[in-house]
Symmetry: C2
Subunit: 451 residues, 2 copies
């Protein structure tokens, strides 16, 4: 054949993506052969029973088939019809036409208004780019920044493997910095300086630092001091910040609140540090993974660089319009006092309350297993427990054996990175509570059997 594996370059061959790697492939194989699998490998809420918000889905249905508003007047609350009507009129041509490369201006306006409501700061709709999920925004930012094979990006250890995979694909260097497991996975200035210094010695030109807050896979929520420390570090070393904030609505720990990098930058009157921040419709309380909606906001990025971002976006034309509209429904809740509002609040509240209960259940359950220690799941959708690995076993081997024995599919810590000599896995908190309880006890029984 005209292609063989030797035609494929290292950029592709070296790319790793554990979240959908060999353990998941084996889980699918087992499922096809009749086994029941609990998929805890990926944050895919609706695959584990979470219902979509009616507000979102009514708007999408009305935009896909605008005649519905007149065909079925009783089926839609007036505020949903109104939102869809505004969206269609703001789009001019509906879901079937390419939008501007950045996404519909009407929706970018709504995103800017959302940021202003959330943080009390201004946001420029021309600095907002609508993307197919957050992943495509992250990839665009990394593509922009990785100019030569010596360029590096600081990424947390553990990290979400989108970062490592994309940096490899664009042939840059990963500059890993450890998160401090002893202190709720916060970032430590010392550990950041260590990592940067080491990269410098290796001849790496570090361009940016990736921060995931709330943390994936760690479940941490950074406080305001930590966010400000990171901005100070980035400023001192001339780094850009990539702020992955897709779990901003998933905060469970009492008293914790989401502190955006944009807000902290404005509070610090920081004009030097370039910021790319990312949000998504896939997480939070929407859990609309399949619609692929998201955005990237740029701050302190010069106009000639933004023009390059726009050009790259334009090569693949625009993000998908249903995803753009899903994002609109996220940043524009039904109006207070409108017919959809009470239902919206109930649906949203039920989802977040349930996730909070699961976050506690899984962390407590794992901590009760001998040899396990798990930080509180303060936010996001994952537990990342540390556990004692039986001698001679890799964490990947342990996870594969767990799958074979119990049908539970988790991702080994090595897929995210971890301190040498430690072992972890990532499990989503998304299965229903009774399944989570079974899961925890199965893990306990399995682990006991391994020693």
């Amino acid at each position: 054949m005209s292609i063989s594996l030797k035609d494929i370059g290292s950029a592709v061959l070296d790319t790793q993506y554990a979240v959908r790697g060999p353990i998941v492939a084996r889980a699918q194989e087992l499922e096809r052969s009749g086994r029941t699998i609990i998929y805890c490998n990926i944050g895919n809420p609706q695959a584990l029973g979470q219902k979509p918000l009616s507000w979102t889905r009514r708007i999408l249905a009305l935009c896909e088939y605008p005649d519905l508003a007149t065909l079925s007047p009783g089926a839609f609350p007036a505020d949903a019809v109104d939102a869809a009507r505004k969206l269609l009129s703001g789009s001019k041509h509906g879901f079937g036409a390419y939008s501007e490369s950045k996404g519909l201006r009407f929706i970018r306006d709504a995103v800017a208004a959302f940021i202003t409501r959330r943080d009390g700061i201004e946001s420029d709709p021309e600095s907002i780019y609508l993307t197919d999920g957050a992943s495509k925004g992250v990839q665009a930012a990394l593509r922009l920044l990785l100019a030569s094979p010596e360029d590096g990006i600081m990424i947390p250890i553990p990290q979400y493997p989108l970062y490592s995979a994309t940096i490899t694909m664009y042939q840059g260097r990963q500059v890993g910095y450890y998160l401090d497991e002893e202190h709720d996975w916060m970032l430590s200035r010392d550990l950041l300086e260590d990592a940067l210094e080491k990269a410098k010695k290796a001849g790496t030109t570090t361009k940016a630092i990736v921060v995931i807050n709330p943390g994936n896979p760690t479940g941490s929520v950074l406080d305001a001091d930590n966010v400000r420390m990171i901005i100070g570090f980035a400023k001192e070393h001339g780094l850009a910040i990539l702020a992955d904030e897709v779990y901003q609505d998933n905060i469970y720990r009492e008293g914790a609140r989401f502190e955006s990098f944009a807000k902290a930058m404005v509070a610090l009157r920081e004009k030097d540090v370039s910021l790319f921040s990312f949000h998504s419709t896939s997480k939070g309380f929407l859990g609309e993974c399949g619609q692929r909606g998201g955005y990237m906001e740029l701050r302190n990025v010069p106009a000639d660089v933004s023009a390059q971002v726009l050009k790259m976006q334009s090569v693949s034309l625009c993000s998908n319009l249903p995803g753009q509209a899903t994002l609109y429904s996220l940043v524009t809740p039904p109006p207070e006092g409108g017919p959809s509002r009470a239902e919206y609040e109930r649906e949203r509240g039920d989802i977040l309350d349930e996730l909070k209960a699961r976050a506690v259940l899984i962390a407590d359950g794992l901590n009760a297993i001998p040899g396990f220690r798990c930080n509180a799941v303060a936010g996001a959708m994952y537990a990342f427990p540390r556990f004692d690995l039986p001698t001679g076993m890799s964490d990947e081997g342990w996870c594969m054996a767990l799958l074979e024995k119990t049908g539970i599919c988790v991702v080994p810590g090595s897929g995210f990175g971890q301190l040498p000599g430690t072992a972890h896995f990532r499990a989503t908190i998304l299965p229903p509570r009774d399944q989570l309880a079974t899961m925890v006890s199965s893990i306990a029984a399995f682990h006991a059997g391994q020693h």
Copy 2:
């Protein structure tokens, strides 16, 4: 600021994408200031008034909001309800969950059945990858093949700039081959051999040839002999073929028919030439550009290479589900005898008849302008006329002046590539007939005024 233009690498800076370049930016500026613009720069049918197919949109609305089927029983024909029900049950979790990285197996089965119906050949659903439009499939194939800076990809001159832009972005080499304008833009074996020989002398390792059929921007439709010649050429030189077949339903010339590379390969019992073929929901009679649906089919690609394709797909999780379902509606028309069938055939027929009339109108109109010569628009959605450039003017300058004077937005031939010393532009055939007639006479008057 922590980023400046000097941080951006040549892979990004050198990328060009004329279809959404400075002329389009200027058109948008003029529009905002109140001018009427005729956008002929891009194949975006619904932005120019084409209506979506009811079949497609009913399925999408029902999948976004499944309660509709019971809430508004009268609003939906039974076959649309049935198609949506099958789709939802095939997806297991609806539009809100990530699908398999390749896309829903249920839809890949439907795509394989479509290929079998179209070509009378077998197709393996495991070799089909659902993508956000065809663009993402093309980019995946190019990413796979471009392993080193010496690797080259043969692309037609003129070509659709997605190819040149992506090859630049992945830092490969463009190996341009001329299409034969004197012979309806067919491919010529001599011109292919010339191009390949020249690349060899420049130290380029040519990996694949891109063929766009029907042609963008040329409007050509390749005959079976031409397709077989290309396969023979690829075989002799060990090249893969990237077959961009997104305009396969847009054939206007009497007697012409679409000849897929897959069908020709099977007819030739060709097992050596690796083939990547691409299709989209954005063109044809659907014109659903904003939904971003499409697929890539692999043939004669070894399993270890396919595994790499799958891994790359998995990094950005999956293509958007509404786009996947739009593709389902394209490859699965309403059943014969069902309540949606007659309406579907009428809507489809009207769109294709109208496009055919416009294809003739624009080519005839342009050919009547002194100094213009335009091949018949046998297929696709574009005219690519050759015209006499006034002395001292670039084609870009001519197109910009045309925009300023008339509000007509076309893309200069230099954005696609052309024989040195010739000038062209690309204009879509999509505006309604009365607008097309005005457009042709405005171009004639403008051109006369330039000499």
